[in-house]
């Protein structure tokens, strides 16, 4: 395992400079604004580019850092135009934290390092048709068979299932149990016999997520994460990793949104319009607030634990503010289908926005978490 401490920004900068272009003002013209997936992008190529980037990143020692070093690396990396790393998110920030906190040494050796190195991509099999925000309603079940477990059930809203190598799988191992007790977490291979992945078409027109049907899928004993019956605790570790990643370091928002808005205003001859200035300022303030929470959200000792939920809520605020600016500056053009003109790319942003507010636990669930867990208000 490669670990570094006290990273210096200059060496990170030199490393990045040799491998990636700096963001420039012109990027704003060239990088997309899609929130969920780039329609028309070659997904296979995106996945391969992400894997390749992560391998080098890991080998350079940047994939596993303490919080302080990670912050240094993040702030330097923000200056560079990196490949789309979204295919890595679930492995790095959902399954990864679960393995690190609850997995056996053997499990960590087998999966964690390859995940950190981009060799294994993961998906997350938590939600079910009858277990959405109320995740404790999971019904998919695992029964003991020689050497492991046999799993059956149906999962849904599974991003990346169609190219993932493994899944973090939440199932009921005690058929007599209900709710939070009796759940267990496994690492399951997606190419195991009995796994059936069917794409779900989203409102964006793309199919970044799927339904996954499990019919007597064999999962070996040693792939249990944590103890039998502790699946809920493992899931909580994964969910807080997901919340933090979606809200913050994983660039839940496309880069240079404010610059892109300004570029659009320039193209449309509106650079002298005070209405446009106001919109740009609002977007810049929301963008600054979102970044500040990512960077300093844990500064408040009483609410440090709520930082991940707060960050997610600030992302969705930012998307709303930017949408208002897009509509003011771009007028009806931004409502045309992508491809009709350069400004029509914003239609993908507008259509992707609801997905961000729902993914990773709907905003209302985040508010319940903040109120009950961090402000100490009554549960229920």
């Amino acid at each position: 395992m490669v670990r570094m401490q006290d990273i210096d920004a200059a060496s990170v900068d030199a490393w990045l400079a040799a491998r990636a272009p700096l963001h420039t003002a012109q990027d704003a013209q060239h990088t997309g604004v899609a929130l969920i997936e780039e329609s028309g992008a070659d997904e296979g190529a995106v996945v391969e580019a992400a894997r390749a980037w992560q391998r080098e990143w890991y080998d350079a020692g940047y994939a596993e850092l303490g919080a302080a070093d990670a912050a240094v690396v993040r702030s330097v990396a923000a200056n560079y135009r990196l490949p789309d790393l979204r295919p890595l998110l679930i492995g790095l920030h959902i399954l990864g934290p679960a393995l690190r906190e609850h997995g056996t040494a053997a499990l960590q050796r087998r999966y964690l390092t390859p995940i950190l190195r981009g060799e294994i991509l993961a998906c997350q099999l938590f939600s079910e048709p009858e277990a959405g925000s109320d995740l404790a309603g999971v019904r998919a079940k695992a029964v003991r068979v020689p050497g492991g477990w046999s799993v059956s059930g149906q999962k849904v809203w599974t991003s990346n299932a169609h190219f993932a190598d493994v899944a973090e799988l939440l199932v009921r191992t005690d058929s007599a149990s209900s709710r939070h007790a009796g759940l267990s977490m496994f690492v399951m291979h997606m190419d195991a016999p009995g796994v059936d992945v069917r794409p779900l078409r989203q409102m964006t027109g793309g199919a970044a997520f799927n339904e996954v049907f499990l019919n007597d899928v064999f999962v070996p004993e040693e792939n249990l994460i944590g103890e039998e019956g502790t699946g809920w605790r493992v899931a909580m570790t994964s969910l807080s990793g997901e919340r933090a990643a979606l809200g913050g370091e994983f660039e839940a928002v496309p880069p240079q949104l404010v610059e892109k808005l300004a570029a659009m205003a320039l193209r449309r001859g509106r650079s002298e319009d005070p209405l446009v200035w106001g919109c740009l300022a609002d977007a810049a303030v929301a963008d600054f607030a979102h970044r500040a929470v990512v960077e300093h959200g844990a500064a408040d000792p009483q609410l440090a634990g709520a930082a991940a939920s707060v960050t997610k809520l600030m992302v969705t605020d930012l998307l709303e503010v930017v949408t208002s600016a897009v509509l003011e500056i771009g007028d009806a053009e931004v409502l045309l289908e992508r491809g009709a003109s350069i400004d029509a790319q914003w239609s993908e942003f507008i259509l992707g926005k609801p997905g961000v507010a729902i993914a990773g636990g709907a905003n209302e669930i985040q508010k319940n978490v903040i109120a009950e867990r961090h402000l100490g208000l009554p549960k229920g």
Binding site: S271, G278, E295, L303, M314, Q366, K367
Partner: protein, 350 residues
């Protein structure tokens, strides 16, 4: 450069909290506000001479390094308590422009007195009908913080910092504002004698503005935390329909919104403070202030509402915060103007 360490700042925070909590229970806020000077002069003298509150940011004197971190700590504490002390006026509007200026001898002398806490100062900007003739000023300012009893009144014109000290030609009249906890006065200058204290480059003027915005952002964050705590406490204590108010999801979500605004305002304040020695200081401070001042208004209003009828009473403190929140949006000029300038600059750099 020797600046405050995290431990130093923690010590300052703890010690000053103790002093303020002992000297300023919330009942005292109102008594102070209603007193002749609008604040507790004895407490101020103790904080200045005993605690050194007026000079912590220039611990090695006027020529030493400027260390703004202690100011931000004080800002959060005073903001949370609605303290009416002349800290913003003397330290932020008084000492910081002088510390950042090329000073005259008079300027250095005044600065020394302010840092020692022997004298107080404020800024009278903007002055309407400003006329300067042979070292004398005529004009008027309608709302000057601590304008009645500040020893020095500072003004910046064309890159020069002037001070008014001589009472001749200066008429000061207290004016009541929506904010009961910040004493304000109207000042009329009739051929008042101006003393040249120094010069400020445009760049330093920008930094002075960023200082004010960053100070106010921290004050807002402190006040926000307090209105959030008040509301959460009420949701736990107050029962209706046989259950605590905090059992109702509509109110839980309001409380969560208060927490989001508290965390985010604290974070933007930190982000502005982190930019102090960079060219991004003013842009960061503007963004931070626009966020936090808006959030404070939103939160003070929501927290008041969550207290029901109690929140609308004179006795309960909610309205003091509500008043302060609105007043804070105006202290750095109209927010809409700040917002417009920010957008214009973003456009110009596209």
């Amino acid at each position: 450069m020797k600046l405050s360490s995290r431990d130093d700042l923690r010590d300052i925070r703890a010690a000053l909290s103790d002093v303020l909590d002992a000297a300023m229970p919330t009942s005292a806020i109102r008594a102070d506000a209603a007193s002749a000077h609008g604040y507790d002069r004895t407490l101020w003298a103790e904080l200045a001479s005993g605690f050194g509150i007026t000079g912590m940011h220039a611990a090695e004197g006027a020529e030493g390094p400027l260390d703004l971190d202690p100011i931000w700590v004080v800002a959060e504490l005073l903001g949370a308590r609605l303290a009416a002390l002349p800290y913003l006026s003397t330290v932020v509007l008084g000492t910081l422009p002088l510390l950042r200026a090329e000073r005259t001898d008079a300027g250095s002398e005044v600065l020394g007195e302010l840092l020692e806490g022997r004298l107080t100062a404020t800024s009278a900007e903007p002055v309407q009908g400003w006329r300067r003739h042979e070292g004398r000023l005529s004009g008027s300012s309608s709302a000057v913080l601590h304008g009645t009893d500040s020893d020095w009144i500072l003004l910046v014109d064309d890159g020069r910092v002037y001070g008014v000290h001589d009472p001749a030609g200066v008429t000061r009249e207290p004016v009541a504002s929506i904010d009961l906890t910040r004493p304000t006065s109207a000042i009329d200058f009739q051929e008042a004698s101006l003393i040249e204290l120094g010069t400020l480059s445009l760049e330093q003027q920008d930094r002075c503005r960023a200082d004010l915005l960053t100070y106010l952002t921290h004050e807002c964050a402190g006040g926000l935390r307090r209105v959030k705590d008040m509301a959460v406490q009420h949701l736990r204590d107050r029962h209706q329909f046989g259950v605590p108010l905090g059992s109702f999801q509509a109110l839980k979500h309001r409380a969560a919104d208060l927490a989001v605004d508290t965390v985010t305002s604290t974070a933007v304040a930190r982000a502005a403070a982190a930019a102090v020695n960079t060219p991004a200081y003013l842009p960061a401070a503007e963004r931070a202030f626009l966020f936090a001042s808006d959030a404070y208004v939103r939160a003070a209003s929501s927290s008041l509402h969550m207290h029901g009828g109690l929140g609308f009473t004179w006795e309960f403190d909610s309205h003091l915060y509500y008043r302060r929140a609105y007043a804070s949006t105006a202290l750095a000029g109209r927010s809409s103007a700040t917002r417009c300038r920010l957008g214009q600059r973003l456009m110009a750099s596209a």
